[in-house]
Amino acid sequence: EAGVAQSPRYKIIEKRQSVAFWCNPISGHATLYWYQQILGQGPKLLIQFQNNGVVDDSQLPKDRFSAERLKGVDSTLKIQPAKLEDSAVYLCASSTKYEQYFGPGTRLTVT
């Protein structure tokens, strides 16, 4: 069974630029999550999708972050414009119920 795929693995941008991350979940997993993991901290949930509907986006900074899940499969997370404090690893996960499966993450550096 293929795991959760994410791209790119690494991205370096300057502040005020925009960036997008892509996630392909495990086939058949209805729930998809985006997490932000700042160095030295645990992952923090940004947004949760159930199929292509948003379940929880309470911690998503909506003035600069946006996410969509087209056709209930792939998802993209966008940041526009980026700030220095957005430097982090962005993790995508998918699940059927309790157990979440994580992708390798995208390490974003904002300079």
């Binding site: 030295g40 309790y98 979440q100």
Partner: protein
């Protein structure tokens, strides 16, 4: 809402020694509990989970954890560690009553196994 406290940010041990990584949680509802491991430059991998039943849970790579409801703890243990166990370990909690399956993570414990 739930929260997780991992009491040690770093735990250095020697190879073949036993180890315990401590985790306490706070919740107003019943919970499910998880331990994840993260190797450098990789995503998180589930080590073990407690959903119900026996409070002693066995996971992969020889790890086990015990759910203690009265002390609101879920400590992770391994009787003999290997160099390859060097990684970051995260404890996480999920409220059992709802249906949104949302995880709240602790800040992590870096386990370093020295030869």
């Amino acid at each position: 809402a739930q929260s997780v406290t991992q009491l040690d940010s770093q735990v250095p041990v020697f190879e073949e020694a036993p180890v315990e990584l401590r985790c306490n949680y706070s919740s107003s509802v019943s919970v499910y509990l998880f331990w994840y491991v993260q190797y450098p430059n990789q995503g998180l991998q589930l080590l073990l989970k407690y959903l119900s039943g026996s409070t002693l849970v066995k996971g992969i790579n020889g790890f086990e954890a015990e759910f203690n409801k009265s002390q609101t703890s879920f400590h992770l243990r391994k009787p003999s560690v290997h160099i390859s166990d060097t990684a970051e370990y995260f404890c996480a909690v999920m409220g059992s009553g709802g249906s949104n399956y949302k995880l709240t993570f602790g800040k992590g414990t870096l386990l370093t196994v020295n030869p």
